[in-house]
């Protein structure tokens, strides 16, 4: 007969415990699972990406209905347990049901701590703990002009603040200590973090005390500080800490201190009752991070299965899940007489690292801006390694130890099997290697089998490196992978070497950079062709045979082998004459579909290859030129009507759109480039999801970059403000040229910016006026060669190549 297990709480700890239990003792337990939240187990630490819009709730669900059904778990979600009767070994549900258990597992977690300030019960004052809180924050952020105050400058508070800011709210963080995340960071790293958050538009107040929360009609209106200052808000998020939920356990007479007492086997003072997660106290310690919780879950499962296991407290490390703020902290970094510091600062790059050493052992590490070596340092701390031999180069990380190899793969290759790769799930290198050798040959498969990198995801790069080390040539690194099989060099390497060695032709590249194939392939040739023409517009001869068919034939190929033709309509403006010419062409060439594109142009779909030169000639005759709708180049500049017709429009957005399109058309870029100009913040031209978006405001023009609405949807980030139209055009051109000169082929601007950092871009395009002008000048040189209508050129010179070679006469074949 199956034994009965009742679990109270369906969080990450109990969920993991059940997974282990079903693995090691299948079909032994009949499980009933209570949860106060009306849902099952989800990845709570990923609520921040849900808040910021980078993930959906569905993506963070750990166990779906099918999982519970497959494992025959009786789910009682949305139900609390009213009482535990240890003598009778039963629990009583809220509705009065009495259920018997053989073993009881308590995983009631914790509740956010709400400071009992006057006004804390007003509507709009919330904690940041579960999906309801997250949804409430998302809802409020949808109100235009909504403001938020976050009390608490710790991990959770800052993630909440960053998420709300990304959703467009004005956010102020109130923090009682003198620097942010004071439990994890020292003052210097806290300063850099503060600077980065202020740069994102978040208002940060440190050493600030709250006095009361002010309301109006029962709703929160503002936070009053003890200085008397009032900070208006529509939402007040308290993220000041958590308290273990122990009420139920206390009432049941279990031993409870700050939380439920458990021994090394996670058993409470009652041998039939176990506890796990944030509600337990082990050897005087409480637990809030996921790594120790998962360790406990393993022990719980083993105890239930009557196997030997013991929970041991370990060092933990912290990372902040705010995209773009790289921060790592582990161990103890308080000052002390016997302790020594090694500090590395690079103010220009915003990098700070501090190592704390005691008795030749690393005991603490704080890093900001470059956290790539975080796990390596964390390993040294946990293992208590003697670092005296590498003290001189310790701060530079594993690549500089023993022989100064710059290859990060060697460092990973050198890790012992028991080195921990995934801190959240406690997965070591050996487990990952075993999974890879068992057939898990990509990140997804490794994640599915071992859970490594499946929680907070910050170790994804390391897992990929383990894949690369284990599989060798069979694995292509998603980052820093070679251009293609023709070379071992990355795109970035190739770009650098083309400039450094002044390589000005494809054969020169193949020869000098040791290409393994005679003349490349369909992957590298289009990239090389672009790099060469971008770097040497006056010297390099464009190679049509290294272009994808769309660019070679200046039309988009469709699934049936026909093509689509899109004439340029500057800024989306056209005339009756142009429309007549388009309609006539559509009739004459029997175009089956005429469609308005998302970029405000007209698309003639279904044109036969051999008709292309003729239809182009007709459109050219009406004054229309190629819209480059097929190109890795400037596509369209979308506009609204601005001051011409709109009662809200603040500037001539259509006119600026036309000027930008006339300046930029014909330029080739690493990927397609789309622009838009909106006449006011109502943003009718959808400028905030374009590669470059200009939003006109009363005081001028806000130029933002790095948006996208394709495979990924991204909102633009502000590049700079311009007071004149010319300045807006200059910023745009300089940005496009910087992108042309530096980005990897097929990276849209948002991907490129994510690699180099927006600050780096701003320094070159906005701050350094001399450099801005140099970029504009180089763009002009390129345009002098490439700003030509390719339709006209092909009609004049290459029309014949669009025709079949010859019609084979029937009689000749006889």
């Amino acid at each position: 007969m199956m034994k009965k297990l009742i679990v109270i709480g369906a969080g990450m700890a109990t969920g993991r415990a059940l997974e282990h239990l079903f693995e090691i003792a299948p079909d032994e337990w009949e499980v009933t699972l209570f949860n106060a939240e009306p849902r099952g187990n989800y990845n709570r630490i990923m609520l921040s990406p849900v808040l910021s819009g980078e993930k959906t709730y569905e993506e963070i669900v750990i166990h779906d209905d099918a999982w519970y059904a497959d494992n025959r778990v009786t789910c009682r979600f949305g139900e609390k347990v009213a009482a535990i009767d240890r003598a009778a070994r039963t629990v009583t549900a809220e509705n009065g049901d009495v259920l018997a258990y053989d073993k009881l597992l308590i995983g009631t977690g914790s509740s956010p701590f709400i400071i009992p300030l006057p006004g804390h019960d007003l509507d709009g004052v919330i904690a940041y703990r579960d999906l309801e809180d997250t949804n409430r924050m998302i809802e409020t952020s949808a109100t235009p002009g909504a403001r938020a105050v976050v009390i608490g400058g710790g991990l959770l508070g800052l993630e909440a603040a960053a998420g709300l800011r990304l959703r467009g709210m004005e956010v102020t963080v109130i923090h009682i200590a003198s620097h942010l995340m004071e439990r994890q960071l020292d003052a210097a790293a806290g300063y850099l973090l503060r600077k980065a958050l202020i740069h994102r538009g978040i208002d940060i107040r440190c050493s600030a005390n709250s006095r009361q929360i002010l309301g109006e009609n029962g709703k929160v209106r503002a936070l009053e500080l003890d200085t008397g200052e009032e900070i208006p808000c529509d939402l007040l998020v308290m993220a000041v800490g958590i308290r273990p939920n122990v009420q139920l356990a206390k009432e049941a007479g279990l031993a409870v201190g700050r939380a439920i007492h458990v021994d090394d086997r996670m058993v409470t003072s009652d041998p039939d009752v176990l506890a796990v997660g944030e509600c337990v106290e082990h050897d005087g310690a409480l637990f809030g991070l996921v790594a120790p919780l998962y360790d406990q879950a393993k022990v719980v499962a083993a105890t239930l299965a009557e196997q030997e296991a013991a929970f041991r407290q370990k060092e933990v490390s912290t990372k902040l899940k705010v995209t773009g703020c790289d921060l790592f902290s582990a161990g103890d970094f308080a000052d002390g007489e016997t302790r020594e510091d090694i500090v590395y600062r690079d103010p220009a790059r915003g990098v700070y690292k501090r190592l704390v050493i005691e008795n030749d052992r690393l005991i603490g590490a704080v890093m900001y801006g470059d956290t790539a070596d975080g796990n390596w340092f964390f390993g040294l701390i946990k293992d208590g390694s003697d670092i005296s031999g590498m003290r001189d180069t310790l701060i530079f990380g594993p690549n500089f130890q023993g022989g100064a190899s710059a290859d990060p793969l060697q460092a990973v290759a050198a890790l012992p099997p028991e080195a921990e790769i995934c801190g959240c799930n406690g997965i070591c290198k050996g487990t990952i290697v075993k999974a890879i050798e068992g057939g898990a040959h990509d990140l997804g498969a490794v994640r599915a089998q071992t859970k490594a990198s499946g929680s907070c995801g910050t170790c994804t790069g390391l897992v990929e490196q383990v894949l690369a080390v284990t599989l060798g040539d069979d694995f292509q690194m998603p980052t820093a992978q070679p251009v293609c099989k023709c070379t071992d060099l990355t795109h970035e390497d190739v770009r650098r070497l083309i400039k450094a060695k002044e390589l000005k032709s494809q054969p020169a590249v193949w020869q000098e950079l040791g290409w393994k194939t005679k003349d490349g392939c369909h992957v590298c040739r289009p990239a090389l062709n672009f790099y060469l023409l971008a770097d040497w517009p006056l010297d390099y001869q464009d190679d049509p045979q290294s272009r994808f068919i769309n660019e070679r034939k200046h039309a988009n190929i469709q699934k049936d082998g026909t093509f689509s033709v899109v004439p340029r309509m500057w800024g989306g403006i056209t005339t009756p004459d142009e429309l007549r010419a388009i309609a006539d062409a559509a009739d004459k060439y029997a175009v089956p579909t005429v469609k308005v594109t998302g970029g405000q142009r007209i698309d003639l779909l279904g044109v036969k290859s051999e008709d292309l030169p003729a239809i182009w000639a007709d459109l050219n005759a009406a004054g229309l030129v190629s819209g480059h709708a097929y190109s890795k180049g400037l596509r369209t500049v979308k506009t609204c009507v601005g001051t011409d017709h709109c009662r809200f429009g603040t500037q001539d957005s259509t006119g600026l759109g036309i000027k930008l399109e006339k300046a930029l058309w014909g330029s080739w870029t690493p990927h397609k480039v789309k622009l838009a100009v909106s006449g006011c913040p109502r943003n009718c031209a959808e400028a905030t999801c374009k590669d470059v978006g200009v939003v006109c405001v009363d005081s001028g023009y806000e130029v933002s970059v790095g948006g996208a609405a394709g495979m990924d949807v991204k909102e633009t980030q502000p590049l700079g403000k311009a007071t004149t139209e010319q300045e807006a055009i200059d910023l745009t051109i300089a940005f496009v040229q910087l992108y042309r000169e530096n980005a990897k082929y097929l990276d849209r601007p948002y991907k490129w910016i994510a690699k180099v950092g927006l600050d780096w871009v701003r320094e070159r395009v906005v701050d350094d006026l001399e450099n801005r002008q140099a970029l504009i000048d180089r763009f002009a040189v390129s345009q002098s060669v490439y700003q030509k209508d390719p339709w006209a050129a092909h009609v004049a010179e290459r029309a014949e190549s669009y025709q079949p070679l010859t019609m084979l006469p029937k009689e000749a074949a006889e």
């Binding site: 082998g561 084979l808 074949a813």
Partner: protein
Amino acid sequence: MTDWIDIGPLDAIAPRGARVLRTEIGCIAVFRTAEDEVFAIDNTCPHKGGPLAEGIVHGHSVTCPLHNWVFDLRTGLAQGADSGSVATYPVRVHEGRLLADPARLVKRDAA
């Protein structure tokens, strides 16, 4: 002995390029490599019917423009992980002219 027929000048095809030859049995793609070798294969990719003459030519291979299947121009066999093939046809260059074997380019009777 076959009487090869003239289907046009070699220069009608760009190096690493292709042109289509329309025949009774369908469209055939005639390729010219960087070294001026010529090959002829069916123009239609067996995967989703992509026009192979519009693909990028590299070495002795062409990549289909629709979904990047790669075919060896000498054998017509799909390369890499893909499996499938296209028919190949004899073509050659003589004194700057492209010559094709007409026997392979007409419909055959059931015999």
